[in-house]
């Protein structure tokens, strides 16, 4: 995911220019290309007469006057990744500093104009030592940048020294500045990536130090004009575009020192002078040395700050993992600790989409908008990779409507099975960005811009970028959560298999019970009835015995039937549909009419809320509750039964209140148990399974049951059914 990429092409004309083989050098020195074996001169800059009179091409270096010592030095090891300072020469009435480096088949020797008595690195040693100490003393990157800018300016006396840092898209921002006021301040200005094209950055990376003493110079051609790689040359002529760029900035001389962090061009120390300016080699080397120390320290500081952040984030992650482990539904471990979830990424909001539900934490877009984001992610992004942006609106159409809360979005899938996501949101931060000139005027143009007036741009629909440590922590959390989801899925599969097996056993058991246990009771009743019909010699007591046998066997049979009903209810498949509870209650009351015969009951039935559930099972719920109310008000005349309903949060509650015998609240938990009775058998008939059935049915619907009562003061029974979960379009 790119940030601040406005698709501004940096492939202007100069991006295509082969600037490492310019075919010329700057005029403050002389260049020779020499064969390493015989030291034969094969190419020379056009101004070679400055050091040696006459034609030099084809001649051997040792034949030239005064070059014996140099030839000897060239036989030693020469670097191929930079230049080595070899010696100082006097020739043609001029002092030369001589540097050399190797190409695969050539030695490049450069003679740079110097002056007698130019200093050496030794002289600068105390200042370098103090500089290194000063750099080590500062703690953070901005202070390091300020310190290196100050020291380079002290060493070189340039009018202005900038520390220029690249962002991940190669736009530059000036983060430190030292100057004498001769040149305008560029502090905090941004420069578009096109200002330093890719091949120029590559040269900055290869050749850490670059000096242009006078931007108005006349290039000196290299003869013959065969291509010669000057990547590591100190005299390399720069692109005419660059020279023009410098003139536009009002700088005649410039020097730059590259700051590399693990091989990547992190930034530049850019020195500018209003007038042409030479910097001796030993000073440049001192600057290069300090620049390298600064680069090392910048890398170390950046990494230790990142490491500290990672440690802190891992602590948060570990807390979240322990919360998740402690919850039966791991997702609750996250939703119940919103603060930690947000701290993990320093976000203002988060969304967890799992199991068909969308949990929103903190400041987030609306649920529908969040679902639109996951829908878009699902369609356009790879499923196993972390997605992150600080400018969602530049990627996702329509995202600008909620840019205020979610310009920054980081997210990941947490299960391959369903569209499950964890997302973090960051609000838009309207930023004022100062560009060195309007960056958009540059598109496709080979000409550097004319004006360097600061150009201010308001950046909208962008959030603070996510840090690498935050991304890494989210990736790690993703791994952990995916692991949990997978393990839970495996456990569920195992549990399901186990349940299936025990369900099958239970089924077989209840099937044989229903056949085999009922039969003997049926036989007892049947034969006893036959006996009563055919045996006329029984006296009253004998007949009573017989009646008791029949009655006992009969109720034992009923008990078996009730128990079977109860077990079947647990296995039955529910068919939930919208239900008119008013109709259902009226129907049940009609059904129970025989039980109310000879009774005076005042019914108070409110207009009941509709519900969603399995009609035949809910009929059984009402039947049990109303039958109980009728039964336990038997002693009242008239009795009163009240049926009401209320809307709760996420559920609807229906209640049946009576003014009957009631119950002691101490036993309220026993009420809904199987075969639990609170009254003596001879007072109130029944197998004691009715309320157990009620609870079982309601729980199968995801609802709950409870009761209140007092001895002699009546009882109220409630059942609540959850609101149906609305169908989600994002579910695959």
């Amino acid at each position: 995911m790119n940030d601040f990429t406005d698709d501004r092409s940096d492939l202007g004309g100069c991006a295509a220019e082969p600037i490492h083989i310019p075919g010329s050098i700057q005029p403050h020195g002389v260049l020779l290309a020499i064969r390493p074996d015989g030291l034969e001169i094969v190419q020379a800059s056009g101004n070679v007469a400055w050091i040696v009179a006459g034609d030099v091409l084809g001649r051997v270096l040792t034949e030239l006057p005064g070059m014996g010592g140099l030839a000897e030095a060239l036989r030693g090891d020469l670097p191929s990744d930079g230049t080595a300072t070899l010696c100082t020469l006097e020739s043609g009435g001029q002092t030369w500093a001589v540097v050399a480096h190797r190409l695969p088949d050539l030695i490049i020797v450069e003679f740079e104009v110097s002056h007698a008595g130019a200093g050496s690195l030794d002289v600068l040693h105390p200042r370098i030592r103090r500089g290194v100490e000063a750099l080590q003393a500062v703690a953070d990157v901005p202070a390091l940048a300020a310190s290196i800018a100050q020291q380079v300016r002290e060493l070189t006396d340039f009018d202005r020294v900038l520390v220029y840092r690249f962002d991940e898209d190669w736009n530059g921002i000036v983060i430190a500045e030292e100057g004498n006021g001769a040149l305008p301040s560029y502090m905090n200005l941004r420069f578009p990536a096109a200002d330093i094209p890719a091949q120029a950055r590559e040269l900055y990376r290869l050749n850490r130090l670059r000096l242009i003493p006078d931007a108005g110079y006349e290039p000196v051609p290299i003869l013959p004009a065969d291509p010669l790689d000057l990547s590591h040359s100190v005299l390399r002529s720069v692109s005419p575009v660059h020279a023009q760029y410098m003139r536009n900035m009002g700088t005649a001389a410039s020097m730059s020192i590259s700051i590399l962090d693990e091989g990547r061009l992190w930034g530049l120390i850019a020195c500018h002078n209003a007038l042409p300016k030479r910097v001796p080699i030993h000073v440049r080397n001192a600057c290069d040395f300090l620049g390298q120390i600064a680069a090392m320290l910048i890398g170390a500081r950046t990494r230790s700050a990142e490491a500290a952040e990672r440690v802190a984030l891992h602590a948060v992650e570990a807390r979240l993992l322990s919360y998740m482990a402690a919850e039966p539904r791991f997702i609750d471990g996250l939703t119940r600790h919103a603060d930690d979830v947000l701290e993990l990424t320093d976000a203002k909001g988060a969304a967890l989409i799992f199991d068909g539900r969308c949990h929103l934490l903190g400041a987030t877009p609306t649920e529908d908008q969040v679902l639109a984001i996951t829908d878009w992610l699902n369609r356009t992004q790879p499923h196993d990779a972390l997605f992150q942006t600080n400018a969602l609106a530049t990627h996702m159409p329509g995202a600008e409507t909620f840019a205020e809360v979610a310009s920054g979005v980081m997210g990941m899938t947490i299960s391959q099975l369903h569209a499950s996501y964890m997302l973090w949101f960051r609000p838009e931060v309207v930023q004022t960005v100062s560009w060195g000139g309007d960056p958009r005027k540059e598109t496709g143009s080979i000409n550097p811009r004319e004006s360097f007036a600061a150009w201010r741009e308001l950046v909208h629909q962008r959030a603070e970028p996510w840090t690498p440590a935050q991304m890494e922590t989210v990736r790690s959390l993703q791994g952990a959560v995916t692991g949990i989801v997978m393990r839970k899925a495996e456990e569920m599969a195992e549990l399901t298999e186990e349940l299936r097996r025990s369900n099958k056993e239970l089924e077989a058991f209840s099937y044989s019970v229903s056949h085999d246990l009922r039969a003997p009771f049926r036989h007892i009743v049947g034969y006893a009835e036959l006996l009563r019909e055919e045996e006329n010699g029984l006296d009253a007591r004998g007949r009573r015995y017989l009646d008791t046998i029949i009655e006992s066997a009969f109720s034992a049979g009923r008990l078996v039937d009730d128990l079977l009903n109860f077990s079947q209810m647990g296995r039955a498949v529910l068919t939930p549909l919208p239900i008119d509870m008013n109709k259902l209650v009226a129907e049940v009351r009609r059904m129970l009419r025989p039980e109310t015969e000879g009774r005076r009951i005042e019914w108070h039935v409110a207009d009941l809320h509709p519900g969603v559930g399995d009609a035949s099972f809910l009929r059984s719920v009402w039947q049990n509750l109303l039958s109980n109310a009728i039964k336990y008000t038997r002693g009242k005349d008239p009795a009163s039964i009240t049926i009401t309903s209320t809307r709760g949060t996420g559920e609807t509650v229906w209640s049946v209140a009576d003014d009957g015998v009631g119950f002691d609240m101490a036993y309220v938990e026993k009420l809904f148990g199987v075969f639990q009775r609170l009254h003596r058998m001879e007072d109130y008939e029944g197998s004691g399974i009715g309320l157990a059935n009620v609870r079982r049915i309601v729980e199968r619907h995801g609802g709950r049951t409870w009761a209140e009562g007092a001895l002699g003061k009546g009882a109220t029974f409630h059942f609540a059914l959850p609101d149906p979960v609305k169908e989600k379009t994002w579910q695959n």
């Binding site: 039969a519 049926r522 036989h523 009743v525 049947g526 034969y527 009835e529 039937d561």
Partner: protein
């Protein structure tokens, strides 16, 4: 008047058999009751096989079929009857010890004519058998009143 068709009662449990016969006896039915003790025996009788190859060619007025039977169970017998072009018209009433839903569903899928769960209460059982007998054995075919002193004819298949 044509000979009354017999009732085929298929029941393996001797006590249930006795009680069902007692119930049928109280229904004042003139029909002969043929009893079979398992599904194989019932099918042999229905299909004139084995010992029944020479029996008089008459189809039963109704088959009272217990669900759980040795050898060939009630559902298989039902399937055979309803799958046989010659037997398909014979009404079959399933008698079962429990109202196990899947048995009920399967029975109706196979084309059962009625399904009776044997109640524990003998009076209800008696009533159920009587109604079944009345409906399938009598209502479909008028019959002369039977003198009370004549015992019900029961034969074993």
């Amino acid at each position: 008047m044509a000979e009354l068709k017999p009732i085929l009662l298929v029941e393996d449990n001797p006590k249930d058999l006795e009680l069902t016969l007692a119930a049928l006896d109280r229904s004042q039915l003139a029909n002969e009751v043929v009893t079979a003790r398992d599904g194989a025996e019932a099918l042999d009788w229905l299909l004139y096989r084995g010992p029944h190859s020479g029996r008089p060619p008459v189809d039963p007025a109704v088959v009272l079929l217990d669900l759980k039977l040795p050898k060939v169970d009630g559902l298989q017998v039902l399937e055979k009857i309803k799958g046989d072009a010659d037997l398909r018209h014979i009404p079959v009433v399933m008698l079962t010890a429990s109202k196990e839903e899947r048995d009920l569903v399967r029975s109706y899928e196979l084309g059962v004519n009625a399904f009776v769960v044997k109640p524990v209460d003998f009076k209800e059982f008696f009533k159920a058998i009587q109604e079944v007998g009345m409906f399938w054995a009598i209502l479909n075919e008028p019959h002369p009143p039977r003198p009370r002193n004549q015992p019900m004819r029961i034969t074993e298949a």
